[in-house]
Subunit: 340 residues, 2 copies
Amino acid sequence: MIIMSKNITIGEIARLAGVSKTTVSRVLSGKTNLVKDETLEIILKVIKEQNYKPSIIARSLRTKKTKLIGLILADIENPFYSRVAKGVLDEAENLNYTVIISNSNYSITLEKKLLETFINRQVEGLLLTTMNLDESMVQTLQRAGIPFILIDIKTGMESVNYVTNDNYYGGKLAAEYFMQKGHKNIGYLGCEKLNSLEERKLGFKKALQQNGINHEYEARLKEITNVSGIFNDIKALIRDKKITAFFAGNDYIAIQVLNFVTNELKLKVPEDLSLIGYDNISISAAARVPLTTIMQPKYSMGKIALEQLMQLIKNNHIGGTTKIVFKPELIERDSVKKLN
Amino acid sequence: MIIMSKNITIGEIARLAGVSKTTVSRVLSGKTNLVKDETLEIILKVIKEQNYKPSIIARSLRTKKTKLIGLILADIENPFYSRVAKGVLDEAENLNYTVIISNSNYSITLEKKLLETFINRQVEGLLLTTMNLDESMVQTLQRAGIPFILIDIKTGMESVNYVTNDNYYGGKLAAEYFMQKGHKNIGYLGCEKLNSLEERKLGFKKALQQNGINHEYEARLKEITNVSGIFNDIKALIRDKKITAFFAGNDYIAIQVLNFVTNELKLKVPEDLSLIGYDNISISAAARVPLTTIMQPKYSMGKIALEQLMQLIKNNHIGGTTKIVFKPELIERDSVKKLN
DNA sequence: GTGAAAGCGCTAACAT
DNA sequence: ATGTTAGCGCTTTCAC
């Protein structure tokens, strides 16, 4: 059984302190130079006694500032996204902002719906990680006057802000490393729905091509969440094309492939098959075979994305756009063999 | 440059439709039986034309219902918590609730602060995963009239609700499995600050004791995030006590220990050392050595915790308490050796 | 079936 | 240095 204490409001505090609501409000918002010291003290005392906390809702309604930002994660369970989220969350805590998080499950349809909800909740800004925005979504956001930044996604649209890494360059890094280790029959595993992965593929294939290596070996996930859908393709590529190395669009894919080839195909990595991933998620170092991968600064990306978003909010998102691109690095571990 | 369309409100819709705000409001809240069909149609048309979305803030202020629930995660990056979070998020989406997430980083101090924020935001309910609540926090919550449910934590306090698994039983499972595989010198690795881990330890040690096996071998993390702090202790236990098997309080610890003993001590798991974890986080199957572990239903726990919370909210959290305890199961993989 | 009026808890002009 | 007043956008009596 709960004893609900009557909701204590600013009016009640004012009454108890013998002043007007305005004066209390001034104290609340730190405009204490406008309040006599004595009065201040009394008010502070009453606030403390009553354990009064102003209603953020009422304040939001009045000021149009909700101190709320929205974060849409493609998949909160993928350590890449949860690491980014941690960066966002920690920074939000510093800035005294609260974060609404939703999981889009890589679905644009769901993301659109979530976007609506966030707009209705009057978030001051949005951080987005799901695939590509279409023009209608950008318009919706702009009409609502809500600034937003894409994380790990780029777009052609000039006015759209993003924080990402140089995926094209990262793909190139992977290709060069394979070639340096003597690999010639190299395949790519990815999903066309994620444009960050597509960029990685482009850089990867371009580097192969420039060195006269066949760049057409590829298996495509129909759904990013369904890695097992390409297991047969992988098997065929290894058998028919004598593939010795795969570049996976991200570590999540790489690790599942690693398990598949080990358990089902009875191949040893890297002895029989080499593998490079992307993202350097926390589990990659602890994988069955420690995974060589391309690292991007996930935590920083989350943190910086929020910092930039705050700038946009502060400036009423007029003026320059935010386009931040980190340089990825190859992390050498044990999943690539040196061929003779 | 953004063109801010004037904020369109219920009054504007009413004016455009030639009716009162009340009538529009009735349409908004689905009380369409109180509205003439013709009128309904007109209003719907105007709403659509104007792309009008009611302000959730204003509605919240008026109704005292925010449709917001708060989720405090001890560590969003630990796959255990992010899997639980996914269960919560998916269910919230079904129920049309929005979720505020914060990361307490296992800090009770920070959690207290976050709790205040959430209360001020008038969340309708709270889901908590950080360690133990103290009485003052429980009181704060009860005074604010906000129902809450603990996930993966139990407490002695009679009135406190939780959704967890039977950690004591899980610990017992691990001990029995080790004994069945012929191990006699068995150690435990955990952290006293997390009471779910303490329960696991208790069940584990009790089972050993009942079989006449020394149950005092143990290394304790000072901070749950700092696994490397016990590496020396582990080394000493193996050397001095001839430990052949460790039960780690969770998979996160187990996997870092797995890496340490492999890389630094040059021991082979399970040939030289056996390991059991807890939680069955997604990476455990993909670890360097697929990890034998105790599984608890993380996604369901998140989902069910929210379902139960909704019941409490609906019933004004009067009446019976929610105490749900899942039965954990041992998942057999490759990290335990059979001794002769 | 519909509308007028009040009010949720706060802040921001505008006095004084 | 402080108070009066109005109003943010909605829902909810209550009246017709």
